[in-house]
Amino acid sequence: MFENLSERLSGVFDRLTKQGALSDEDVKTALREVRVALLEADVSLPVARDFVKAVQDKATGQAVTKSVTPGQQVVKIVHDALIDTLKGEGEPGALKIDSPPAPILMVGLQGGGKTTTTAKLAKRLKERDGKRVLMASLDVNRPAAMEQLAILGVQIGVDTLPIVKGETPVQIAKRAKTQAGLGGYDVYMLDTAGRLSIDEELMQQVKAVRDVANPRETLLVVDGLTGQDAVHTAENFDERIGITGVVLTRMDGDGRGGAALSMRAVTGKPIKFVGLGEKMDALETFEPERIAGRILGMGDIVALVEKA
């Protein structure tokens, strides 16, 4: 459905100067197409704008080697810059879970995949890292949200905090903390209700939870199919609650994943994991190279240029 960047650029390529250094005009022409490709991949407009500007500065005047066309050269520069932006510092997928019991707070918009990701992460911590994990649902809003987490807990063999109806999220968080300490758990995970980033009351509520639990990690769970709204979500959640990382879900879909770039650019926080399905083992650590090719809609040409 979408033209990929190489198709887009093919027309432009021909018009680019054939040798020497990339001229200002060459780069400008090519980057106009890059901008459109980014926007079609759902990169948020301000992020796409800044990104293109940064690449413009980097590319202008660069020597074009004989083996590639100027267009390919631009693509390579764009691709490398994408990976640079997407890459966070440190080990991808690493979580601060020393000093047990370490709290992990899961936040995000409605339906993004928090509850599913909570259980997937718990399973991973248990099986890969040999951690004892306790999960607690603080979702007093969505019907059967607590039951959902409890069922997943049974499926993956991870304990969930017993459900007590009528408690507030803060009360549940306190109980989870106590229980995690008494029960000798290494990690306790707090799954929260979905909330709009402009919902003052619910944002206050999750702040109160944060202040009680003092989470080692606060993960923003974001739908990988998110469009332009990614900037608002990222900004508001990070400003109000302070996130330590991002999990992108539904990357098993055929979305182009531009939200990844928006999230990174706006928050500066690492994308730690991607969700690749509904099953409990469909969680992988984030790989910037894969997403970069996907955003540009063109894994292959980059590989080609790499070889050249």
Partner: protein, 289 residues
């Protein structure tokens, strides 16, 4: 800046030139309209007005009416037929708001004096059935269920029988969320439709595709594939109470022309409104204050 909040200052008129058009395009792109559609909408709006001096308010007003003009033909409520039970199948990707929307619809139809039955066709997701049962209670509507992991098509078949026996006016069938590129899950959906047609070849009478307003350009693919597989007859867009504007609906109206029946504006039972093109356009362009 053009898009900033207007304050009580003397009205500045600006020429509707290329620079201005580009800013307007960006406004629309930021609302998820997509590059192509944004270009076309601004070009249409500028036709015959290029170079004219206009105030920001006038320009936004023109843009809003252009959007609203495109959306007018697709703003249609869910049609109610005399044939009973009218079968409404609800489909969409994961987490878009299908189950919640069914709860809201059930409540509205019941309030309108219809006899409604719900089938909990999501036999996959943990506690999907329990979630829908709560909505059934809230709406005062019975919910037919099957065990987790059982075949959703056979539940749909049984539910058709029950709805017929009970003389229901409407049968709302929930389905599990599925991404449109998952061939196996789309085939499962196709099977649900086939099995429903064994009971009544005119059913499902409506297939509602539920879209999440935060979704970007992937919504185009969602509509394309779900329509191929399950003959989508109308759209509902949820989560328009957030910061997302749902501009992709304009691209969808342009390309597919499917009716938009309703919009979700919250998590409560009454938070489902008819789709209003003027309101939608105003929010999209930012003339709603």
């Amino acid at each position: 800046r053009l898009m900033g909040r207007s304050t009580a200052q003397p009205v500045v008129r600006r020429a509707l030139d290329d620079e201005m058009l580009e800013q307007l395009e960006e406004l629309l792109i930021s609302a998820d309209m997509g590059v192509d559609t944004a270009l076309r909408v601004t070009a249409n709006m500028a036709e015959g007005r290029f170079g004219k001096k206009l105030s920001v308010a006038e320009i936004k007003q023109l843009l809003a009416s252009e959007v609203s003009r495109i959306m007018e033909p697709v703003a249609r409520p869910l049609p109610i037929y005399s044939k009973t039970p009218q079968v409404v199948l609800v489909v969409g990707v994961n987490g878009s708001g299908k189950t919640t929307t069914i709860g809201k619809l059930a409540s509205q139809f019941r309030a309108a004096g219809k006899k409604v039955v719900i089938a909990a066709g999501d036999t996959f997701r943990a506690a999907a059935v329990e979630q829908l049962q709560v909505w059934g209670e809230r709406a005062g509507v019975p919910v037919l269920t099957a065990a987790q992991g059982s075949d959703p098509a056979s539940l749909a078949f049984d539910a058709m029988g029950r709805a017929q026996e009970e003389g229901a006016d409407l049968l709302l069938i929930d389905t599990a969320g599925r991404l449109q590129n998952r061939g196996d899950l789309m085939e499962e959906l196709a099977k649900i439709v086939r099995v429903i047609r064994k009971k009544d070849e005119t059913a499902p009478h409506n297939t509602l595709l539920v879209l999440d307003a935060t979704t970007g350009q992937n919504a185009l693919n969602q509509v394309k594939v779900f329509q191929e597989i399950s003959d989508v007859s109308g759209l509902v867009m949820t989560k328009l109470d957030g910061t997302a504007k749902g501009g992709v609906l304009v691209a969808l109206a342009d390309r597919f022309g499917l009716p938009i029946h309703a919009v979700g504006v919250g998590e409560q039972i009454d938070d489902l409104s008819p789709f209003d093109p003027d309101e939608f356009a105003a929010a999209l362009v930012g003339t709603d204050g």
